[in-house]
Symmetry: C2
Subunit: 352 residues, 2 copies
DNA sequence: AATTAGCACTCCATTAGGCAGAGTGCTAGT
DNA sequence: ACTAGCACTCTGCCTAATGGAGTGCTAATT
């Protein structure tokens, strides 16, 4: 595992590299003759065939049938991206396009959408961006409105301008004005704190001697508890350009495509996959079956977490066939993640 | 146009009917011999061939090639659904499933989703439901929060529990408490009225002598104008089961499927198509090119508007290949529309 | 006059055979 | 250690042949 170049000499690696590059650009199994011409080291096809046989034994390449050339396996791609890849710097046109579109906008959600669209359009594959999780959600305002039957609509604003709403069920019927007062009270004591902090404070306040509080205060805090209890863990992502995937012959079989799209609407598997990249810093790559999901056997995922104020808040990336131009995609995803992170509003700074 | 059975006798119609039914169930071009056995009228294949030739002249059926059977054209389907179709009553199991799932829930948006999913699952095609437009949106509550740089976050609640938010740009910088007062003032004078009414009232109030009002009132009303000016016309729909369409061989060509899916994400064409059914009452059907969009040449759309309090507020339906089981789909869409309409909260009744 | 039987014809789908091209593995020679 | 050569294999493509399904037309029947 640790030693990923078992007994491969430089020559074999060089050949594997050109093979993968060639296959990525052509999409055809590459044979010994082509490889002999393509590579800089002057070797006869016969020699190359020997090397290929070795590579095949190691599970790095494989032949669709006896008299076809070789194509890289997942392990082959893996070795390629880990040790052999020479990344290409971003195209200037694309870079400026990124900069132009990912400059700060007022609306974060808008930015997420833009980023996803850029990923999809520039790579011509599917682009995906998770909605940023913000541990440091700062409560700005809370408000209650009465509905029928002890149901109460709670609206709260976090950070700059994110509006959340939710229906809670109360023990007793409270009038509109009572609710309003409750809101005012909560605003006065919790505003400006992070949601986590508020949650803690609520618990503490409820447990501590409730003597000092009057009934109205107690009611207010109980409602706050209801309002914030669930983490509102709306794990979600913005996916664009899925239809680009329909163009790839490798994901051809009708049924296969359906499974991929179902996974997209299902969301949970994808989320789980993306969550893994949350932990890591920088670009991460899942090649073929490495993802652990059968659906993505023929796909690769290039992702990167993105951070605001040095804190990882989300993941973005592209999904495409295993045969993708890693040397361009990888730096591209990397840059996009950095730019998006920079463009998002740094929510912690709420100057008093 | 008006006379849609030009010189067709009953026999021809009968034959057309069985032909369409047969084609719908088998998906194979149906030939004269099969038809002769299938139909109740005892005719020899030869006779049937003559009739078929007539039907072909009239453009009701067509032959993929010389020695294949006939398949209905769009006009053929049209005649079929208009005059020949014998609708099948809903399956009991499905009916009870509809009733069970479409009983009133608190959240309208949730209902829309459920309806869409039911449409897709039961028909095994794509289900679509537009977000209900409500002319009679009743304003329940409005609130302003300051952002930076003269930007103001406005939050307003309509009907039972629909929360909208929007950022507006103000002429001058107002403090949080000024904004709060403005909100309170607006609530006191406009609450309970429909959005349309509020819009009118705002204009009127602005034009009439502004002498009676103090500056704060004026500011408030100006902000109200900004808040409500755009109709917030977020025409939108909930689409489910798109992937079901991948199973149909008639929508096979890779490129074709991509176009359809692109239309789904594009949304505008679909919206436009659905808008047409808004006007009509009851079930409406677009067969093949009747939709007017090339993308849907091979598709049919069965839609129905749905109403709350006798007022049409939205459209729902299914999208599938032209070769679909109309006799089941039509009553199904019909019932679903009625049930959804009944289940949605009647927003006008806001008992004081 | 309407229907039907019969026949020649057309077109598709499948099968089989043949052939060229590409690529391999192996062996023997450099 | 490398390479040239050769036999072999598999694909893709073309062609031809065959059977089946269905038609259109004509002539016969009712």
């Amino acid at each position: 595992m640790a030693n990923n170049t078992p007994d491969l000499n430089d020559r074999s690696l060089q050949l594997l590299k050109t093979l993968v590059e060639r296959y990525i650009s052509d999409g055809q199994p590459v044979g010994s003759r082509l490889l002999s011409k393509d590579s800089t080291l002057n070797l006869s096809p016969a020699t190359i065939r020997n090397v290929m046989a070795d590579l095949e034994d190691l599970g790095l390449v494989h032949s669709p049938h006896t008299s076809a050339g070789r194509i890289p396996t997942s392990s082959g791609y893996r070795l390629f991206v880990d040790s052999l890849l020479t990344v290409k710097p971003l195209d200037n046109k694309e870079l400026s396009r990124l900069h132009q579109n990912l400059s700060t906008k007022d609306n974060d959600n808008q930015m997420i959408g833009v980023a996803s669209r850029l990923l999809a359009e520039i790579t011509q594959m599917a682009g995906i961006v998770t909605i940023p999780k913000r541990e440091l959600t700062c409560l700005r305002h809370i408000e209650f409105l009465p509905l029928s039957h002890q149901r109460v609509l709670v609206i709260f604003v976090t950070n700059e301008q994110e509006v959340h709403n939710k229906v809670i069920y109360c023990e007793k019927n409270l009038s509109a004005s009572e609710l309003q007062q409750a809101g005012a009270y909560l605003n006065s004591i919790y505003c400006g704190q992070s949601l986590d902090a508020v949650r803690c404070a609520v618990l503490k306040d409820l447990q501590e001697d409730q003597v000092r509080m009057n009934q109205a205060m107690l009611d207010a805090i109980k409602m706050a508890q209801l309002a914030f209890e669930s983490n509102d863990n709306k794990d979600d992502y913005v996916l664009t350009g899925e239809t680009n995937l329909m163009g790839f012959s490798e994901l051809s079989s009708r049924n296969h495509l359906k499974q991929i799209f179902d996974a997209f609407t299902q969301k949970q598997d994808i989320i789980h996959l993306l969550d893994q990249s949350m932990k890591a810093d920088g670009v991460q790559i899942f090649i073929g079956e490495e993802s652990g999901y059968q659906v993505f056997e023929q796909c690769s995922l290039v992702t990167s977490s993105y951070s605001v104020n040095n804190e990882v808040v989300g993941v973005l990336g592209v999904i495409g066939p295993t045969r993708m131009a890693y040397e361009k995609i990888i730096p591209f995803v990397d840059v996009t993640a950095k730019l998006l992170g920079a463009a998002l509003n740094p929510k912690t700074t709420t100057p008093s």
